[in-house]
Subunit: 301 residues, 4 copies
Amino acid sequence: MDRYIRTDLALELKDDVEEGSLDGIKIYTKKNQGTNIVETRIDVMNEKGEKTLGKPVGTYITLESTALRGSDEDIHKPLSETLHKYLKTMIRGKEKILVVGLGNREVTPDALGPYVVDNLYITRHLLAEGIVSSVREISAISPGVMAQTGIESSTILKALCEKVKPDVVIAVDALAAREPSRLNSTIQICDTGISPGAGVGNNRIMLNEETLGVKVIAIGVPTVISVPAIVYQAIDSMLEAILDKNVKVEDSLSEEDKYNVACELLEPELAAMFVTPKNIDEAVKRVSFTISEAINKFFEL
Amino acid sequence: MDRYIRTDLALELKDDVEEGSLDGIKIYTKKNQGTNIVETRIDVMNEKGEKTLGKPVGTYITLESTALRGSDEDIHKPLSETLHKYLKTMIRGKEKILVVGLGNREVTPDALGPYVVDNLYITRHLLAEGIVSSVREISAISPGVMAQTGIESSTILKALCEKVKPDVVIAVDALAAREPSRLNSTIQICDTGISPGAGVGNNRIMLNEETLGVKVIAIGVPTVISVPAIVYQAIDSMLEAILDKNVKVEDSLSEEDKYNVACELLEPELAAMFVTPKNIDEAVKRVSFTISEAINKFFEL
Amino acid sequence: MDRYIRTDLALELKDDVEEGSLDGIKIYTKKNQGTNIVETRIDVMNEKGEKTLGKPVGTYITLESTALRGSDEDIHKPLSETLHKYLKTMIRGKEKILVVGLGNREVTPDALGPYVVDNLYITRHLLAEGIVSSVREISAISPGVMAQTGIESSTILKALCEKVKPDVVIAVDALAAREPSRLNSTIQICDTGISPGAGVGNNRIMLNEETLGVKVIAIGVPTVISVPAIVYQAIDSMLEAILDKNVKVEDSLSEEDKYNVACELLEPELAAMFVTPKNIDEAVKRVSFTISEAINKFFEL
Amino acid sequence: MDRYIRTDLALELKDDVEEGSLDGIKIYTKKNQGTNIVETRIDVMNEKGEKTLGKPVGTYITLESTALRGSDEDIHKPLSETLHKYLKTMIRGKEKILVVGLGNREVTPDALGPYVVDNLYITRHLLAEGIVSSVREISAISPGVMAQTGIESSTILKALCEKVKPDVVIAVDALAAREPSRLNSTIQICDTGISPGAGVGNNRIMLNEETLGVKVIAIGVPTVISVPAIVYQAIDSMLEAILDKNVKVEDSLSEEDKYNVACELLEPELAAMFVTPKNIDEAVKRVSFTISEAINKFFEL
């Protein structure tokens, strides 16, 4: 029960919910035999579900593949095909796609979105100039982060959506997870939008149908863990270790106590930091390529 | 008289105009003794001037410094101060600045605009959040090129100006020149706007007060020469060389003839190419830094 | 007969040789029906062949695929497989490979080598640490160019080969071609080594068995055309155009004359410049990926 | 007493040493009034000092400037001048300098070394070609990290030193600190060499006079904190917090116990992770520029 600890993954939030109390939530899981990809679908059905999970009504799909973290290239094709399949279900025949690469291309674990945009087949201008026809209209932008532009991503994108008039926005961003094992090996897709900069701890105005005026499908990959998450887990393990020494401390600290202590003992400077693996360059390059491929399959109508 | 040959520099267009026919144009030149910076100001006064020069009514300032091409770091300070001085005259107390870095950061000679934006002090979000006060509002964006976004830069920027409401836009882009000696050693500032992608031959919709609804000051540096410009000059020199051999050919070819021949004999693929120096990486890095510094001096109100 | 005009492609040099005079050279060409890849093999057999072609004794293979220039992703698999097949023949069972990415990653058309190295599976350290076994030893380096290091690539690589002791070096670099249509659509493989920086006109000390003490297989892709090549072709076409006007000039200029005129009329600054297409970023990314994949297939012994 | 917790800073190690036991160590500190730069010099005099501090005999200088972390550009000039002054003392008239940029340019907090090399004035090739004279010979290389090359940096650099024969090597690398407040605001210079990859936790073979055959001066800036350091500090604070609740636990855990517990409770995956601030892109760019400037001042003999 770590519900005070930051995660962007519905899958990890679900772990916090006590069994039997999944009111308003439906969960389906399947493991593909050949590819070892685990697909989890969490439907938040209503307000009760929202409260239980802490996420708005909608569908959250998670694809997990430990192979994604290794250098096994064979996983890309099935994974990008699975990702495309779910995106297709969510897009439901909508024709014009604007892909948004959120994040800062100069900070490796935050560069996922811009890297995905770098590898897309863009068609909007080719259609407008009559160079191609009978392909889907795909446009894209990597707006940069607030420290680079001074402007909220939601402001830039709302302005752009009003002019470009896409039928759907696909927003790609780096996320934060709690579990180190999930970094760079999990892809989350949801139809409820996204808060840009979530992964690196810059909470900004949500991008969703309400703010942009067009449906927003979010694709996210956890590339970082927040420092409080690491510290909380350490404290938790510490207390257990102490308990094993037969010292009664646990009783004196509730879940919330522990969280508050974790926050208190963090120097304020640590709040603006994140934890990321040393091989983050290869990991982000690999998974961004898989996502680009999944989106590029929309090229044909 | 090379007026058929592409250049983005008012200074080079001026060379085409025959002496005594500078109707509607005023030209001032001065050379700074200490720094060797040559400052040329060309005022296009009226329609006559527009016809003569082939540029809209407005002011075109060119700063030339051969030292900019070498590794002489001492030139940066006086050059960025001179640039700032002219920008200040053009901005005339306008307070909120949106800087636009045009061009493609993945193609070295086209990366000038994005590089300039990378080195700016952005304040708009800090002012909004109350972190700073009494500084000028500066925001910025590098929108990417049409092949990356599928969207005209003018569309993105018009949308953005409507929301961000800057008092003035400073647009930075790479330009094309005719003279190899001017590459990376000349900075042009004008108050009439800019056509993005001019340098690399992608003529797009103009960015100016008419299209963006806000005054546009353009800063450009020639980083490339167009292939037709190179070929035209070669043909021209060739014909002179032949003439020297006492063969009468020149008579048979008018200025326009020569230009048409130059275009005809170019394989169509060459039209999408440009000429650039081998050390373009250092040159663009150096001059982009000078421009960033000149803009950063607007930080203080 | 354009033999004065710079090209790094044996294929283009061959075009200069008059028919019937192919003494010391053998040429085989085949076109793959399914993939449209044209494979040309030129064997320079002896000193006579060296004189005829202007390239040292050895084998030069060229793979041409117009599809490589488009966004047709289907060409990558067959092209990287064909490239791997020829590399395998040249490597002949040698076990330890050192891949060298020549060129300057900061100048887009010169970044081919570093980009290829960026996408390799490196195994040498994993073998040394016992993390993997039964895979081929692959190491790699992108040494940078002389303007960045102050050191000849041949010096760095000779030093490295003495310590790392590879069985074979695969050196990847950008090349210069004459024909615009060949840029980014042609891959040349040869077993005689390479002169780093050839493409962008920086002729350096050769990398070959003589200088490095180990066999050097070179993979090159033309990404630029030299300015003299463009100018020469323009002059040539111009003279033909003039001839069509019934003016006798051609007689007065020999092949060598024309070349000398081309050189004379070039401003010296143009010698340090090159011609490259506007979409060079996408083109280099695409072909570097194909080459990386071909080399990565050596992973398994 | 946190001496089990990883830091690359002599300054932080010194804090672990109990007062009065500074046997074999001499420490001098001064604060510059105008610039607020704090200069600390730690001399490890002999074997006793080595044991006390855990660092080899030599001189360790630390420059601290909180201004370096802000956007105050005025600090660069005095800081790079102070850095140059100390480098000069250590170089002692040695003429030929090889600068080594350690680290991975694709991982932002590890890119310090390559970024410094990117901004150097390289002269070795210009001297060799007679283009300049009466300047110092400066060469440089960014060899890449083991995951990119498969080769130990020490192997590459020993090979290179044998050929290039510099009089001194200046090696620049990112470091790890314990204190969040020291990240990107501290520069350490020492004359005892460096272990590449220290900052991101990849301990490799030392680069020093013994391994390279030439004196090695190391410049380092802490850009990351190791995960165990964060966790250890959290545990420590936690135990204090518990103590405050009058529960006697502390007694049951020695310093070493605590460290072991910290290690045990870390998932092994966390060992390959690091903690870094969100604005690491700006921070690394800024400090790398200061270091480049300090080295560039060696240009003149």
